[in-house]
Amino acid sequence: MMKKIATRDAYGRALAQLGGEKADVVVLDADLAKSTKTIDFAKVYPDRFFDMGIAEQNLMGTAAGLAAVGKIPFASTFAMFATGRAFEQIRNSIAYPKLNVKIAATHAGITVGEDGASHQTVEDIALMRVLPNLTVIVPADGPETEGAIRWAAEHKGPVYIRLGRLGVPVINDEASYQFTPGKAVTLRQGKDVSLIATGLMVSVALEAAEALAAEGIEAEVLNIHTIKPIDAEAILDSAARTGCVVTAEEHSVIGGLGSAVAEVLGEGQPVPMGRVGLKDTFGESGKPDELLKKYGLTADAVANAARRAMARKG
């Protein structure tokens, strides 16, 4: 059994460490500090933690103001409310003036589970990736989250980091992993099909590749942790070698990673393609694993999509 950790937990841990290293880091939350794990920072650095109450628009605007006077604010709440409720605040108060705000949004996707569709954002990648100046990161596991958070604190400019509630397998080496923004990580090389995944679907894609290998299919697995700017070079290069692509994300297939990859391929290297993700539907209440199965976010589904894509190769 692989070790598991939720990316939100890694976030809390990274914040608490950063707090000691960078005096300008401040953290804001909207009455969800225990859930988003910003509480880990609040406990150690109460003076630099601001609970803004249940007021997400003001959360983003206040973070913008803090950045405007030189602070490095991490603004956190559930991804649903961060990107949905406060979309225009992120656009006009943060992205447009290019302010140094880090939006760390937890509980993204359907694996937030029992709370149901009102809390399951499967649109946030689409909403954030359309905004100029904003870097969009979806870490695949704990070490990658910590790397991304550390990088974000150093980087000058707005960053959106999508995090999850559910424990996910640790696929990167905790001691040695280096987060490189904008660079895809090739986790497995292959010549028959490219599996391009983000977030918790990266480990699912690795599982799918394992299953395909048993049939003699060599799947390449790319982890796209930075959705924007996307690593077009790595995507085109992999597609050129394998001749077909399958994307996998815990997000709507409309506007997310699948769309981003399709845009890159469409302009540079059209190949047969399949997209695994939510098929233009809201989620529902249930256990994360049940939901992943019901909505087709499984290794089986990825492997099937790979076989279909391979069948369409010329």
């Binding site: 007021a55 628009q57 003001n58 605007g61 206040t62 103001g65 006077v69 108060s93």
Partner: protein, 272 residues
């Protein structure tokens, strides 16, 4: 306050109003009404109160200003130009493609602009963040903002008002440009934001009510705001939209319409 200072400021305010007319006329677009109503408050802040340095617009210890009602950009640009942040010549470039004076304030393009605004309701939140950040750094810089009375209809304003009082931001003070008009008509008919005084008081603010065209009253209110500790101050300024230009005063139609050559000439004459 000495008579001489007040008179000097009144004359500067007139000059700023002339710029507002000239620049919106040159652009053939823009918002003269709400710019003219805010001219006296902006003048008091930029020419008397705020510690700012035109030679060093990013000076970290400076006081900050946020124009919540960002459509009144002409009044802010006029003040910045008169104050020496850029040549007054540039005001003609307002809203022209390729020119730095955007239709709404852009902090990345215009020296002296501390926050990009234009989407109503977002400015006060930024001011709250600035006040929190400056306090963390033990700076005694103040944060000033001007909001519209129509702008108060945005829910985010009240989220920010709650936060400002909760965090006891006594270095933050705002003016409400209470000119009674918005785009679709009188504020009290479209969606009343009144009574403004009671609302801010209930939110825990120190509130002052003044005639927003009396330079003396504005300067006094600023001093009062600065003396208050433990809470932010809201200065509810009774103003007249289009103030200073007879045919624009209190006219809804002059919210976002630029004067033509003939109208501009009359307005400039009235503002001598």
């Amino acid at each position: 306050m000495s008579e001489a200072i007040t008179q000097r400021l009144e004359s500067t305010a007139r000059q700023i109003r002339r710029h507002i007319i000239a620049m919106t006329h040159a652009a053939s677009s823009g918002h003269p009404g709400g710019s003219l109503s805010a001219a006296d408050m902006v003048t008091a802040l930029f020419f008397k109160e705020m510690r700012i340095d035109p030679q060093n617009p990013q000076w970290p210890d400076r006081d900050r200003f946020v124009l919540g009602k960002g459509h009144a950009a002409p009044v802010l640009y006029a003040a910045l130009a008169e104050r020496g942040f850029f040549p007054a010549e540039e005001l003609k470039g307002l809203r022209q493609a390729g020119h730095f004076l955007q239709g709404h304030p852009d902090m990345k393009k215009v020296p002296g602009v501390d926050m990009s605004t234009g989407s109503l309701g977002q400015g006060l939140s930024a001011a709250v963040g600035m006040a929190l950040g400056l306090r963390l750094d033990n700076k005694d810089a103040r944060v000033w903002a001007i909001l519209g009375d129509g702008e108060l209809q945005e829910g985010q304003v009240w989220e920010a008002a709650m936060a400002a009082a909760h965090y006891k931001l006594d270095k933050l003070a705002i003016f409400i440009d209470d000119n009674g008009l918005q785009i679709d008509g009188p504020v009290k008919e479209v969606m009343s934001s009144y009574p403004i005084v009671d609302k801010f008081q209930a939110f825990g603010w120190n509130v002052i009510e003044i005639d927003g065209h009396s330079m003396t009253a504005i300067l006094e209110a600023i001093e009062t705001a600065k003396a208050v500790t433990g809470r932010p101050t809201c200065i509810v300024s009774h103003t007249v939209k289009g103030k200073g230009v007879s045919f624009m005063e209190d006219q809804v139609g002059w919210h976002g319409t630029a004067p033509n050559a003939e109208q501009a000439a009359i307005a400039l004459k009235e503002l001598q």
